[in-house]
Amino acid sequence: MPADQNSPDGPVAMDRLDFSADIYSPVAVERAVSVFGELAKFTVTHGDADVSVSWADADADVADVLADELANYALNETILLSRAPSTTLR
């Protein structure tokens, strides 16, 4: 879910999405971040239970839908990967 965080240098608006690693493919999340990479400054953190994606400085034109579109893209990729042959990297 999106969340705001403050940096030590001052309040910086950051958003975050936590993708359940049990549901979303980490490869799919990375691909989503790669595709949306020009629209914000992303940071991906791989945890045991979640893959967290944080971002700041989002493009103002897409800032309100960035989280939703990123999540949709990651889910779409996850589903496609789950249907791919077993030799595909997931």
């Binding site: 549901i23 979303y24 939703d68 579109e69 999540a71 949709n72 889910l75 589903i79 789950s82």
Partner: protein
């Protein structure tokens, strides 16, 4: 705003809750199965029991909603997948409720498709095997024609019919 609706079967829920009574096979109490969802002004959230609907069914249903909704899946508890649907277009309580219902229907559809696919695996494999690897009548006919052509090419040509017109048979 929060709303909760019981759509599927339960035996002891009061009628005013919108529950449907479903007695067991011998008239005893059946297992309680409810489809509940939470509504807000922009989204609807509901849990799905993975022991009833496997992951492939959830993915299959979610895939069909991606073009008109923002879909986000969570893991609220072991064996449960949380689904959040946020319509891309118009959002109202009626639309959100309808989306939740459609998703539940699609889950059933996906589950049924998976079970049919599973139960017909053998017969589909059998048909494919016959189509590609066995001598069906059409293959036999083609093979026979090819064999006939091969034999003709190798056969003697006493009348030298196969010699081109331009060449003189006596010259060779």
């Amino acid at each position: 705003m929060s709303n909760e609706a019981a759509v599927a079967a339960t035996t002891e829920a009061p009628e005013s809750s919108g529950a449907v009574n479903a007695p067991g096979a011998n008239g005893e109490a059946a297992e309680t199965a409810e489809f509940t969802f939470e509504l807000s002004s922009t989204e609807v959230i509901f849990p799905i029991d993975e022991s009833i609907y496997p992951r492939d069914a959830i993915f299959g249903a979610a895939y069909l909603f991606i073009d008109r909704c923002y879909v986000f899946l969570t893991r609220p508890a072991d064996g449960t997948v949380g689904v959040r649907l946020r319509p891309k277009g118009e959002r109202s309580e009626e639309i959100l409720e309808a989306l939740a219902g459609e998703f539940a229907n699609e889950l059933l559809n996906q589950l049924l498709r998976a079970r049919i696919a599973e139960s017909t695996t053998k017969i589909r494999e059998f048909y494919m095997q016959r189509a590609f690897f066995e001598n069906t009548p059409s293959h036999s006919t083609i093979d026979a024609l090819l064999a006939e052509l091969d034999e003709e090419e190798l056969a003697d040509d006493p009348l030298e019919i196969s010699v081109p017109w331009e060449e003189e048979p006596s010259a060779s």
